[in-house]
Symmetry: C2
Subunit: 413 residues, 2 copies
Amino acid sequence: MIDVRMRGFRDRAEVAAVERLIDDRLQPLPAESIALTMAAGRVLAGDVIAAVAVPGFDRAAMDGYAVRGHETFGADPYSPLEFAIVGQALPGRPFAGAVGAVGAGQAVRIMTGAPLPDGADAVVQAEAAAEVEGGAKVRITEPVPPGRHVGKRGEDIEPGSPLLPAGRRLRPQDLGVLASVGASPVAVRRQPSVAIVVTGDELLACGSKPAGFRIVDSNSVMLAALAARDGAAATRVHMVPDRYDAVRQALQDAAEDVILVSGGSSVGQEDHAPRVLRELGELCIHGVALRPASPTGLGFLGPRPVFLLPGNPVSCLCAYDLFGGRAVRRLGGRPAALPYPTQVLPLARKIASLAGRVDYVRVRIAGGQVEPLAISGASILSSTTRADGFVIVPAELEGYPEGASVLVYLYDG
Amino acid sequence: MIDVRMRGFRDRAEVAAVERLIDDRLQPLPAESIALTMAAGRVLAGDVIAAVAVPGFDRAAMDGYAVRGHETFGADPYSPLEFAIVGQALPGRPFAGAVGAVGAGQAVRIMTGAPLPDGADAVVQAEAAAEVEGGAKVRITEPVPPGRHVGKRGEDIEPGSPLLPAGRRLRPQDLGVLASVGASPVAVRRQPSVAIVVTGDELLACGSKPAGFRIVDSNSVMLAALAARDGAAATRVHMVPDRYDAVRQALQDAAEDVILVSGGSSVGQEDHAPRVLRELGELCIHGVALRPASPTGLGFLGPRPVFLLPGNPVSCLCAYDLFGGRAVRRLGGRPAALPYPTQVLPLARKIASLAGRVDYVRVRIAGGQVEPLAISGASILSSTTRADGFVIVPAELEGYPEGASVLVYLYDG
């Protein structure tokens, strides 16, 4: 590859080719074993099979009285049936009567979740029963067939049954299910670490006030939040001056799974990152047929991807979401696709584009229609805060006519 | 309010009444000031107005050469125009020529983001220029009208303009915009802290293996993940035995903004939480016309809400999402509504319900249709891992017929 500095990009790679390169070169990271209490949102590394039944025993599904169901037939509010209360069963504290089982005409006071006593096969709920004679007996006003209000052993989970598949992003209730079968620790994909290398002599650190001809770095805080959204473990921000040796040192020092370089990626004389990457590893892509992120590069340091993201904040957002984020998501075992909710809506005004180039068009949604934002400048980050989302115009189209149904990616979930 | 233990609920509160009570009693927590680097996903406490212009000066939008635009008219590849290179402008390092301005026939080598030198009003991009005579001159092959490839002062953000409204949940790019105007620290809503009090003698801590008649607590790990999703700051899990004094002590000790009690909330003799809450504060609701979460309670300790959630895990999930989560979301300044993406789809099979009761029905989506899951037991947590989401049947309906269009809340975002 030749040096493109100050000469412009000759051939720009197609967006689809960059995506293929990412997918081909990157596989999900190895598994690690973590406590279930830390596993919300993590990605299962393997299928989980239930080792035990849940529940492990027949149990009451209601508060009430455990009885032999057929003995309750005929009970109603006008002719209640009486049973002798011979004990009680509480969760974790089963009934332990003298004979160990519920006999004819007997009932055991039982709480939801308590083991069903031997002999009993149904539960009369508290609402259909009233204790009398100081709790010695209970009057039942509703019949319950055998099995009623009883949770059978294994009714939730059968031992040996597949519980959750590899690749599952763990929902809150998944954690509950895994806890109930004792599946902690759990094997999940390791989360990729991300280095964010920000170049630019003009940049002040996030948190500073802009002053004179110096501006505040806005990309690192945005990239850190995007990477965290995509499942990155830790992000480290490293600000370096626009000097060849500083950029080289920063890339040599970066031990992270993914390296995002913001700025210095284009063809200007201060754009050292492409040269450094070519020297230290591979520069596979430099220049992408993508508006507004054409000065994007992708290479590798050994197996680890390095993304050269444009310094312009909108381009940076676009290039991260399409490429850098794809790598973070893929390494962490998440779906590679853009992690935004989508909606199909009609276009209020046409979108013009060039064939052969993918366009990332910020849009607003008003009155159920999609309005492209007039401001297309790559430096206008506020356009992405005013926008509700974006539309991707594929390379094979020259835009979309007014009224066309388009897929909108919504910034807010 | 009377003691309902072992007598069942007389009147169950309507779901809408519980929601109204939450909305009436709870207001967003006060603001706190945090560093922008910590603010992803946080909720803005007030409107943010830009204090400065972004950019703060006219700057190059491309790498290339700053010139007087009208002097380039007529340039084309066959008759390029030559300009004398009199210096360069880099980001943060403006052009400082002897006369301080770009004169007739002169050009300044300029990088994207560099301040536009005085005298110049346009930038010729690098691709339309070639340096000659060892960099003393540049040949320009494309005309640029004044203003071309120049980012004007304030073109992204005008000083005094409203940037982001109060209540905004900060997107990654919002952080970038706030960084660029130097708005760090930023005032956001304090995140509510949440205590999770789990009662049950039969329960083993999450991470244990189920053994004998003891089962593993699955609600606390689920509730902690749900609360974190809804913006809770920290959650603390406290497991207590089914004893009046232990439950009382746990509620007295809980200093958190929201208290979730899992289990012991119903009308069984071991259900101490309602009585304790009535004694220590207020028990406003006990029993809700909601399936499968009817044994739900809501009260307050001073201003702090206490939710009595059923121990059955599906009921617990349902009651948290509708009520407990609503409180967490509201206190943190988020929208009170359920935080799931939704889709309207036709029902593959009818859903039966009772008028006067809200039903939470787990469903799968197959072939673009909504299939209610046959298993309706409140204890079958695995039904919520097999389900794609749920449908809420409002109190005024007796279910939905086959083919009806229903709103599905999707568990996965």
